[in-house]
Symmetry: C2
Subunit: 468 residues, 2 copies
């Protein structure tokens, strides 16, 4: 996976070895078209990163789950023999309400919990609106202009009278988009809901986006795909510029220039913005990249000798509506539950405040929260690790980029993913199904590779005609 010198000529160059880039390369490889994958970082996987901690348990610092309708990711799991197991969720969940009250519950929420019925009504209404979004061209529908002109915060203030329901919806927005409701437009929210197949698909665990985890970590299928591609994946090689000149494309890196016929750019938008394209990208595409801004998320893991919370009938799942840095907690223990692992998500405003603390203070804040939820044993983990995605030099945020208000209707149709000459676009942000998820990344690579294969077939057919 590392080579002394780059090849000077390849049919296709793929920029980025996250799931999207690997998927594009693998699809081309399967079709007999060699593709060279250039990855800036010293690893594959992009926003998916599974690492063993010093105590031996593998933690997923990035994307980690797979759901039953995510057929592209499930396909890779099957192809590469990557076993999954159901997300731990047996037992009672906890809800730390904004007033400091700690509720224990099973089902959808504590009995008589404030705002729960209104929350359900509001999400049903969002599903209804989302069903009217054309996921193939979200900026084009009859309601798109109005929906893209207001923030989700404005929509919720106006349409959801119950403040407790709004609190629940705000936590849902943080949890799913890793932003505050003020940062995204209603249209993007609705598109994303539609792309996942409904609000519950985004939010629920069993039979939804959080259904299962990978035994060896969610990076395992990416590592397997990279192994399959072998020397065609080159690490530590950021692409600096891409020149298109007729039917030739030059891809420049500090390690040399590669001549190619087609390029798939499969990087997160901020990394795309750091590549110089000559000639410049069409304005709509350039604007779209500029207006695709990453969410803000960190994941924190606390590892314990055992999942002690289960002794008290707790699932390890908790939602926090107060001032804690952590917004939700899951039981991220491995399948044998030898060690017990709790994962916390820190996002939006929570992340902004918490990430300015030093390491010891960040850890103390998280452990204080876990102690409040699960008792004093939670305060003494064997190990504590964290990953703050906005500080990642290549992703520059997470989970995904969210177009700014107005961007879908102004630039979406032309700028979202339309090829620019011989440059094709992949990345989960270009997916119309499970946008923002691993599954969307994989399908985007399949689509981009398909564009190239179709173009090559057309070119070959034309040569055939000319030759006959």
């Amino acid at each position: 996976m590392t080579v002394a010198a780059l090849p000077s000529r390849v049919p296709v160059v793929v920029v980025g070895a996250g799931y999207a880039g690997l998927s594009a390369a693998l699809t081309l490889h399967d079709a007999g078209v060699p593709a060279l994958v250039l990855e800036a970082a010293d690893r594959v996987g992009g926003r998916i990163l599974s690492q063993p901690t010093s105590s031996g348990v593998v933690v997923d610092h990035g994307g980690q789950w797979v759901g039953p309708t995510q057929r592209h990711l499930l396909g890779w799991a099957e192809r590469f023999g990557c076993a999954t197991f159901p997300t731990w969720e047996t037992g009672a969940h906890l809800e730390l309400w904004h007033d400091g009250a700690l509720h224990r519950y099973t089902g959808d929420g504590p009995d008589g919990a404030p705002g729960l019925a209104e929350y359900a009504a509001a999400t049903a209404r969002l599903d209804e609106l989302a069903s009217r979004v054309d996921t193939g061209d979200p900026g084009a529908g009859p309601d798109a202009a109005a929906w893209d002109a207001e923030t989700v915060e404005t929509y919720l203030s106006r349409e959801v009278a119950c403040p407790d329901a709004r609190r629940r919806l705000a936590l849902a927005v943080q949890g799913v988009w890793a932003v505050e409701p003020r940062e995204i437009s209603l249209l993007h929210l609705l598109f994303y809901i539609a792309s996942a197949g409904g609000f519950d698909q985004l939010m629920q665990t069993r039979d939804a986006a959080q259904d299962a985890r990978f035994v060896a970590g969610a990076q395992a299928p990416a590592l397997a795909a990279a192994r399959r591609l072998g020397d065609a994946v080159v690490l530590g090689t950021p692409v600096e510029s891409v020149d298109q000149d007729g039917d030739r494309v030059l891809v420049h890196t500090a390690r040399g220039t590669v001549h190619t016929g087609r390029v798939v750019v499969a990087t997160p938008p901020p990394a795309t913005a750091a590549i110089r394209f000559r000639p410049g990208l069409p304005t709509a595409r350039a604007r779209w990249v500029q207006r695709s801004v990453m969410g803000d998320v960190a994941k924190v893991h606390a590892v314990y000798a055992e999942p002690f919370w289960r002794d008290e009938g707790l699932s390890g799942i908790a939602s926090l509506y107060g001032e804690d840095a952590v917004g939700v907690v899951f039981d991220n223990s491995p399948p044998d539950a030898g060690p017990g692992v709790l994962v916390g998500f820190v996002y939006g405003d929570r992340l902004r405040a918490w990430s300015t603390l030093d390491g010891a203070a960040r850890r103390a804040a998280v452990l204080a929260t876990l102690t409040r939820l699960f008792g004093p044993r939670a305060g003494e983990p064997v190990e504590y690790v964290e990953k703050i995605w906005p500080e990642d030099p290549w992703a520059q945020g997470g989970y995904a980029a969210n177009p700014t208000p107005g961007a879908w209707i102004a630039h979406g149709s032309s700028g979202w993913r339309r090829p620019c000459g011989r440059i094709h676009w992949a990345g989960t942000e270009t997916a119309d199904r499970w946008n923002g998820y691993i599954d969307g990344a994989i399908s985007s690579g399949v689509r981009a590779a398909g564009e190239i294969l179709a173009a090559e077939r057309t070119a070959a057919a034309e040569v055939g005609c000319l030759g006959s």
Copy 2:
């Protein structure tokens, strides 16, 4: 201004030779501190570009005006002997209303024009709100969170009942921010109003932001400053990366590496985003840069043998509320009004539609509009030129960057312009007075240079103490 090789060591490197970078370098130069200015393009001036057309008249493709409270720009005009003259505005203005009616008027608007009184009331209210913004830290005030959570479109829909007043306000937002009201938050709008000293300062011609023009074009003071700096300004040299290592900074370009002690980055945010910083920028700054997205504007100039519209008592100033590409027109004739020049501004949604046309169709659309306003002679200019700023490889838009909704309150205090180690930030986007204007660019350079001079004085004083 071009050198064979870059110097290997200089006390300060300034990135970008727009007004902000030139101002930083000139301030340092005046204080006896040599600074090397590295400019990516083959000219200085950034978003200010004055070019003679083939018929000899100089047109300003970018920023062009100076107002009486813009003391930094006026100071440069005086220092470098760049003469100004009053913007042409004598005569009757035109208003092409959305229903197709063409009104001729003097004063603030046509007699009994729809929505005019309500527009005035709405702008007075905006001024009142703007007076509560702390321009030194816009995200920090008590109302900032609410104001940054909604788009201007939402605010106007809720607070301005009269649809005709909303039409006027939408054109004002296009004209001043080069965006649609849905694209910016109320807080950014209010900050910008406060930074200019009131809504009328932004909108009016005489005694306001559009008061006067430069005889030799608005780029003239920048060219004079660059001449003063001489060989210290190096063109055609994009900065690729900046490494900080203790008290040393390495600035890397394709033409070599410069070792320096301090850097001023004075580029538009999209150009800043294309520079790799090692270590990475603090998260708040990185997020701020990512969420500072450029407006969309083009300027079109039509040159005629004479300003024929004056024969009919027309000022050449027009506002267009319909579907035309052009939103406003000014008389941009030179001081002797030998030739007559009309300039049109195309922005926001208007630009998105128009810029997809080919060159001939773009020209035809603009001339059709001018003909409708000024009669058949307007359709036959001696010359027609245009500059579409989103297609500019370095500016990537104009006039300035507008933070996305929520960005001010989340990242403003830390990310707006606070130095990052030995990297200082200039650019009109970092100005608290006349943000987005040439004047703000110059003052931002003075501030950044002042930060460096203060730091050096402190360091020198410490050395002095140690030595005594």
